[in-house]
Symmetry: C2
């Protein structure tokens, strides 16, 4: 069996992460002190720092669990996408959006995104960036799948379109978490409008009209 020390370490790390996840969500990332987490996890402040480099790292660790779930939940959509290009893209994107607030508050997202931009070369910054890359890759992969099913023109470059669409969905999401009064419905509407013309380009349909 695993040594005592090893088991204790794992238990402490788990308790710290659980404490963070709960307190960040209920009290807000900013207003939770490391001391609070230490107390809840029944360790000292110094011990928290033996497991996580900074407060931001702890946040990224909680966000990463959520993102991992979202990526996994995207796979079935790639395996069996809707037969219209815009439906397929929106199915994947709405999937991302709808799960985003399940375990995380908008304030947590703001802090996490800000952290990943401000500290791109820390382990947690890289971790966040890597998950971002995997999400973008999933969008690109969906386009490739649709190309395989002859729903998207073969001469379009999947990575460029995937990056474009991911940029737009990410930007829309950032605006969503920046403003507390924007709803998920509004976020969906916003991205749907931007996707529509691109989807029509991709499928080769007549472009959408203004009416």
């Amino acid at each position: 069996m695993a040594g005592l020390r090893e088991r204790q370490k794992a238990a402490r790390e788990r308790r710290i992460l659980e404490a963070a996840s709960a307190k960040f969500r209920s009290h807000g990332y900013r207003s939770v002190k490391i001391e609070d987490l230490a107390e809840m996890a029944e360790v000292s402040v110094g011990t928290v720092y033996n497991y996580y480099e900074t407060k931001g790292d702890i946040l990224i660790a909680t966000v990463a669990m959520e993102v991992e779930e979202v990526i996994a939940a995207g796979a079935p959509i790639l395996a069996n996408p809707p037969q219209r290009v815009d439906d397929a893209l929106l199915a994947l994107i709405y999937q991302y959006y709808d799960h985003s607030l399940e375990y995380l508050s908008k304030e947590m997202w703001r802090a996490a995104i800000a952290h990943s931009i401000e500290h791109p070369n820390t382990p947690s910054g890289r971790r966040y960036a890597e998950q971002d890359r995997r999400l973008a890759a999933q969008v690109t992969e969906l386009i490739r799948v649709l190309q395989g099913r002859k729903l998207v023109r073969q001469n379009l470059i999947a990575t460029d379109l995937g990056t474009l669409i991911f940029g737009a969905l990410n930007q829309a999401f950032i605006e969503f978490v920046k403003q507390d009064d924007i709803t998920l419905v509004q976020l969906r509407t916003q991205i749907a409008a931007q996707i529509a013309p691109v989807a029509s380009l991709m499928s080769g349909d007549a472009p959408v009209t203004n009416q």
Copy 2:
């Protein structure tokens, strides 16, 4: 003439902003202490806080000057855009990109963007968001101009395309400032690839090919 007090206030604010602009660029935003700015501007720490609410606000004030210039420099391109859709869009975007590092370092951009996301409801957060909105509006306006010149299909909705394109250019810029080793040339190449298919959609040409 303006009262003595008023002139002194203006001079102090200017000195603080100049100190910030110089030190942030030369020593990095993070490592500059408010105390350093106070010393260089020949005021006390408390006085710095009479003029700016937080350290982040001071940064946004320096960034805002730069963005203001970029927006102004965009106007001539709207007045007389290149005759090809992709050239027109890229002329405007390259204009943004090429000016971005004139007075600001990548580190300053990272901190500023992070600040604007994490503190969207502070005056400086709103200020940054407002300038972002104006940049996006400029892209949208360019599309409208091109529609007026019959270079872009009339039935496309300018705001949706403008938002889509702005999202992509913004996302590419964030990746650019996150990685110190990405060059402006690489940034240009990156966005050009994403713009190409959209520009072809907009103009109604045959879509670009993979070759």
